[in-house]
C-alpha cells in the first residue's frame, strides 16, 4: 500500500489548534438546524431537520432558487454539506470537491480535483458514484474512487494529509461518505463483485494515521472480536466464528464489503454499520454461513472491538447486501422505552433491534411481495432463532448451479438499496424509499482473478407479477413493523429522504422529480422536475433567514444501469414472440416494444424520461 503525506503550512497550523475530540465540536454543530454538517444529518442518521419555515401548508409554493452544475455526467449520490456561509459538495469520478459561497450566489471559493487513475472506473460496479464529503476540525474529508482518503483545509481546499486505504488494482474502490467519530474518520471499502474482503478503517483526524482496521471475515484478530465478550443474539460468538463458516481459504476473497452508511451513539460509545454480500454470487461455490457477511456490526468507537453482531442473511443466495443505514431512535416497544436501531435491509425485512445489546425486537417485511423467506424466526427457543426461514422454491442454492430460480422478490437491487430513509421524532415514523422489483437468478461456477469481476450468477429483473410500479415511498412504524402509508412510484425510489419539523417529507425520483409529501398522510404537496434523474439525498439548511431544500440530480448508479432500458418479464417477451411471429424473426424494436406495451403492460424505459446530468437544484419559498 502506498501512502502519501502532504502537509501544507495551513494544515500544520490547524493541527496545533486540534481539539482533543473533534466530535464535541461536530456534535455541537449538528445541534444547529441552520447547518447540515454531516452527510447523514446527525450521528443517529435521522436525516431530520428542525427547520419549519417550509410547511405542509406552503410547500406548494416552493421554487427553484439557484442551481449549480458539477461538470460531471454520472450518477450523483450523496448530498452537500452546509457549514455557516459555505456549501461543500463533490462530484462522482473524478470526485471534484467544491466550496461554494452562499453569500455570493454560490460563487466557487475553491475546488479540488484529485488525480486518479481512470482504470478505477470499470472496477466500480454500478457507476462511479460517491456519497459525499464529511467535515471535522476545519477539514473536509473526501473518500476517492481509488480508496484514497484525503483531508482538505476547509478554508482553502489545500491537502492537509492523504492516505491510500486500499488497492484499486485488486478491485477495491471507495464510494462511501467518510464518517466522523470523536478524533477519528471512518471509511469502508467497495468491491463485493470483485471478491474484495471488506473492512472498516479508522484514521486519526489530526494526522491521517491508521488507528484501527477491522475486517468482516477472517481470523478473530482481523475481525476485532472477543470470542467470549462479542455476542450474537445474546450469546458469545465463540472462537473462529468466521473461519468455521467458510470452505478453506475462501474467506480471503469472501466479500462482506462496507460501502454503506455509519451511525454513532455517543452514550453507548458504539458505531453501527452493515457488511455486504459474500463473494461470489454463486452460493453453491461457497458453502457455510459465510460469516460475517450480511451482518449488522456494533463496535467500540475507540478501539474498533465488536460488542455485538447480527447476521441477517446467513449464506446469501440473492445478493442482499446488508450495508443499508442503521437509524438510531429511542422508541416505546411494548410499553418500554428502548434504545433501538432500525434497519431496512436489501433482503426486504425491516429490523428493529436493541442497539445496546443486539436483541432482536421486530423483523417484518416492508414490501408485501417479499417471498424468498416466510419470516424471520423470532422464537428464542428455536434452533433457527433470528434466521430467515427460506422458501425452498426461491433458494438458488437448493435449486443448484445452472438452474434458473424464478420469480424471487425482491431482486438483487433489494427492497431498498443504499438510498437512506429518514426518521421524524415528531411523527415517530420512518420514511423509506423502496424498490418494487423481482428477479430470476441462475448461479454458476466462476473462477477468481484479482481485479476482475467475480460475479457467478445471471440475473434478470422485472416488476412483480401483475404490477406496473417498480418502486414506492413508504412510511413505516418500526415499533409494530407495519406500513403506515405507501405512495407507489413508476420507478424505484433511489433518492435519500428528508423529514422536517414543517410536517413535510422530501424525496427524489428517477424521472428527476423532487417531491414533497405530507408526513402524516403521504399526500403529494409539491413536485418539480429537475434536469436529470435523482439518486442523491435531499437536505435542508437556512441561510440569510430563508430555509432552502437542496438535491443533486444525475441519473446513474445501479438504478441507471438496471432501469435505463426498462424491465421486461422474460417469459412475457417470449410468449409474445411465440404467439405473434410463430418462430419467425421480428425486428428487435418491434419485439421489445410490442412485448413491453402489449403483453406486459408498459414498463417504460427510464431512458425515455431523463438523460445524464450533474446538477444541484436548491429550492426556497418566494421572497
Amino acid at each position: 500500500m502506498r501512502k502519501i503525506w502532504l502537509t501544507s503550512l495551513l494544515g500544520a497550523c490547524a493541527l496545533v489548534a486540534t481539539p482533543a475530540i473533534a466530535n464535541d465540536e461536530l456534535a455541537k454543530m449538528a445541534q444547529n438546524p441552520k447547518d447540515w454538517v454531516m452527510p447523514t444529518g446527525d450521528f443517529a442518521n435521522h436525516r431530520y431537520s428542525e427547520l419549519k419555515q417550509i410547511t405542509k401548508d406552503n410547500v406548494g409554493k416552493l421554487q427553484a432558487a439557484w442551481t449549480f452544475s458539477t461538470g460531471v455526467l454520472r450518477g450523483h449520490e450523496g448530498a452537500p454539506l452546509v457549514i455557516g456561509d459555505v456549501m461543500y459538495l463533490n462530484a462522482p469520478f473524478p470526485n471534484t470537491v467544491y466550496a461554494l459561497d452562499l453569500n455570493n450566489d454560490g460563487k466557487i471559493l475553491w475546488q479540488y480535483e484529485p488525480r486518479q487513475d481512470p482504470n478505477v472506473i470499470p472496477i466500480m460496479c454500478c457507476d462511479t458514484v460517491n456519497r459525499g464529503v464529511a467535515y471535522a476540525d476545519g477539514k473536509i474529508f473526501l473518500h476517492q474512487a481509488d480508496t484514497t482518503l484525503v483531508a482538505l483545509d476547509a478554508k482553502t481546499g489545500k491537502v492537509v494529509w492523504s492516505v491510500m486505504d486500499g488497492e484499486a488494482g485488486k478491485g477495491q474502490s471507495g464510494t462511501d461518505a467518510p464518517f466522523i467519530v470523536k478524533d477519528k474518520v471512518l471509511i469502508g471499502v467497495s468491491g463485493g463483485e470483485f471478491g474484495v474482503r471488506g473492512w472498516v478503517s479508522a484514521y486519526n483526524i489530526k494526522d491521517g494515521k491508521l488507528a484501527w482496521r477491522a475486517y468482516s471475515e477472517g481470523p478473530d484478530s482481523d475481525l476485532k472480536v472477543d470470542p467470549q465478550k462479542t455476542t450474537e443474539l445474546g450469546k458469545p460468538i465463540g472462537a473462529d466464528s468466521s473461519l468455521k463458516t467458510w470452505k478453506g481459504d475462501q474467506w480471503k476473497i469472501g466479500g462482506g464489503d462496507t460501502w454503506g452508511w455509519y451511525s454513532y451513539d455517543p452514550a453507548l460509545n458504539l458505531i453501527y454499520y452493515g457488511s455486504g454480500n459474500p463473494s461470489t454470487w454463486n452460493p453453491h461455490q461457497r458453502p457455510g454461513d459465510n460469516k460475517w457477511s450480511m451482518t449488522i456490526w456494533a463496535r467500540d468507537a475507540d478501539t474498533g472491538m465488536a460488542k455485538w453482531v447480527y447476521q441477517m442473511t446467513p449464506h446469501d443466495e440473492w445478493d442482499y447486501d446488508g450495508v443499508n443505514e442503521m437509524i438510531l431512535a429511542d422508541q416505546n416497544i411494548g410499553g418500554t422505552m428502548r434504545k433501538t436501531l432500525v434497519h431496512f435491509d436489501r433482503n426486504g425485512f425491516a429490523y428493529t433491534l436493541d442497539r445496546a445489546t443486539g436483541e432482536l425486537l421486530v423483523a417484518e417485511k416492508y414490501d408485501p411481495v417479499v417471498n424468498w423467506a416466510t419470516k424471520v424466526d423470532m422464537d428464542k427457543n428455536s434452533k433457527t432463532y433470528g434466521r430467515p426461514l427460506v422458501v425452498s422454491k426461491y433458494s438458488t442454492d437448493q435449486n443448484g448451479e445452472d438452474v434458473n430460480s424464478q420469480g424471487i422478490c425482491p431482486a438483487a437491487l433489494g427492497t431498498k438499496d443504499e438510498q437512506p430513509a429518514a426518521y421524524s421524532p415528531e411523527t415517530g415514523l420512518f420514511y423509506v424509499p423502496t424498490n418494487h422489483v423481482c428477479m430470476d437468478y441462475e448461479p454458476y461456477k466462476v473462477s477468481y482473478t484479482a481485479g476482475q469481476p467475480y460475479v457467478g450468477a445471471a440475473v434478470s429483473m422485472f416488476p412483480p407479477k401483475g404490477e406496473t410500479n417498480m418502486g414506492a415511498f413508504i412510511a413505516w412504524d418500526a415499533k409494530q413493523g407495519k406500513i403506515v402509508w405507501s405512495d407507489p412510484e413508476q420507478f424505484s425510489v433511489w433518492s435519500g429522504a428528508l423529514a422536517t419539523a414543517g410536517g413535510v417529507v422530501f424525496y427524489g425520483t428517477l424521472e428527476g422529480y423532487l417531491k414533497a409529501v405530507d408526513a402524516k398522510t403521504g399526500k403529494e404537496l409539491y413536485k418539480f422536475k429537475t434536469p436529470s434523474g435523482i439518486i442523491g439525498n435531499v437536505m435542508t439548511y437556512e441561510h440569510g433567514g430563508r430555509q432552502y431544500v437542496a438535491v443533486l440530480s444525475g441519473v446513474g448508479g445501479w438504478a441507471g444501469i438496471g432501469l435505463a432500458a426498462g424491465l421486461l418479464r422474460p417469459e412475457n417477451a417470449g410468449a409474445w414472440h411465440k404467439a405473434v411471429d410463430q418462430g419467425k424473426m421480428p425486428a428487435a424494436d418491434k419485439a421489445v416494444d410490442t412485448a413491453g406495451l402489449g403483453a406486459v403492460g408498459g414498463y417504460a424505459a427510464l431512458a425515455k424520461y431523463t438523460s445524464l446530468g450533474g446538477t444541484l437544484t436548491v429550492f426556497a419559498l418566494p421572497k
Partner: protein, 228 residues
C-alpha cells in the same frame, strides 16, 4: 432476416451513453499493462497457478484475431456481415459463410447452446455495466447497437484489451478482460448471444429452448476454466 449494415441508430445508446466508434479507441496488445497514468496500481497480474493449455490456446486465438483487427481497421467496421449459419462444429458452435461465430434457431424455436450460454454469461459479467439484454445503461453503451457496426474481430479485441474514451464530461473506460476466464472462456458465447440480440433474432428474453451442451464443449470449458 434483417440486414444490419446501415441500420438506423435509433435506440438505447444515444439516450444515455455516447456510443464509441471503433476507430476512436485505444488498443493495446494482450498482456501489456493496462493504461497507467498515476499510481502504478493497475498493472495486470496473471494468475499462473492453474495449468491451462486451453486457456493459452484461447489467448493465442484472440491474439490472432487482434492482429486481424489491426489490419482490418483500415476499412470501416460494418459488423460481421450476413449472420446466416452455414455449418456447425463438434462443440455445437455455428459459423457463418465468412467463418464468424453465429447463432442458430431451429423452426421449433430451439436455440443453439452458445446463444443460451452467452445469455447467461452476459447477465453476469457484462450487464452490470451494459444493462440488461445488451440494451445499454446510464453507464455504458448498448451492445445491441454496437454490434451493428463492430466485426467479430473488433469485438474480441475490445473485450481482451479494454478501451478508454475520454470526453469533457465523461471518462468511459472498459477494462481488459484478457485475464478473466469467466469472460474469455466464453467470448464466442457472449458474441453469439449479442449477435442474435443485435440482429433482432432473439427478443429480450432468456432463450426458451436450447440444444444440449455437447461433450466436446464441456471438455473445452473445463480445460479453459481450469476445472477439469
Amino acid at each position: 432476416m434483417p440486414s444490419r449494415a446501415g441500420a438506423p441508430h435509433d435506440r438505447g445508446a444515444g439516450l444515455f451513453s455516447p456510443d464509441v466508434e471503433p476507430a476512436s479507441r485505444e488498443v493495446e496488445p494482450i498482456g501489456a499493462p493496462r493504461i497507467d497514468t498515476t499510481s502504478g496500481a493497475f498493472t495486470t497480474s496473471r494468475d499462473d497457478n492453474v495449468p491451462q493449455s486451453a486457456w493459452t490456446r484461447s489467448l493465442t486465438f484472440v491474439t490472432c484475431l487482434m492482429a486481424a483487427a489491426f489490419v482490418g481497421r483500415v476499412a470501416l467496421a460494418d459488423g460481421s456481415g450476413d449472420p446466416k449459419s452455414v455449418s456447425k462444429d463438434e462443440n455445437g458452435k455455428y459459423v457463418d459463410a465468412q467463418g464468424n461465430p453465429t447463432f442458430h434457431v431451429s423452426d421449433d424455436g430451439t436455440w443453439d447452446w452458445y446463444t443460451f450460454s452467452g445469455y447467461r454469461r452476459y447477465h453476469s459479467d457484462c450487464h452490470v455495466c451494459h444493462g440488461p439484454d445488451g440494451e445499454g445503461s446510464s453507464y455504458a453503451p448498448a451492445l445491441v447497437e454496437s454490434l451493428k457496426k463492430m466485426s467479430y474481430a473488433d469485438f474480441a479485441t475490445v473485450v481482451a484489451s479494454g478501451r478508454m474514451n475520454v470526453t469533457t464530461s465523461q471518462t468511459n473506460v472498459m477494462p481488459s478482460f484478457a485475464n478473466n476466464r469467466n469472460v474469455m472462456c466464453y467470448l464466442d458465447d457472449i458474441y453469439i448471444y449479442l449477435r442474435a440480440r443485435s440482429d433482432g433474432a432473439l427478443p429480450r428474453e432468456r432463450p426458451p429452448k436450447k440444444e444440449a451442451k455437447t461433450k466436446a464443449y464441456a471438455a473445452a470449458e473445463d480445460s479453459c476454466m481450469g476445472t477439469q
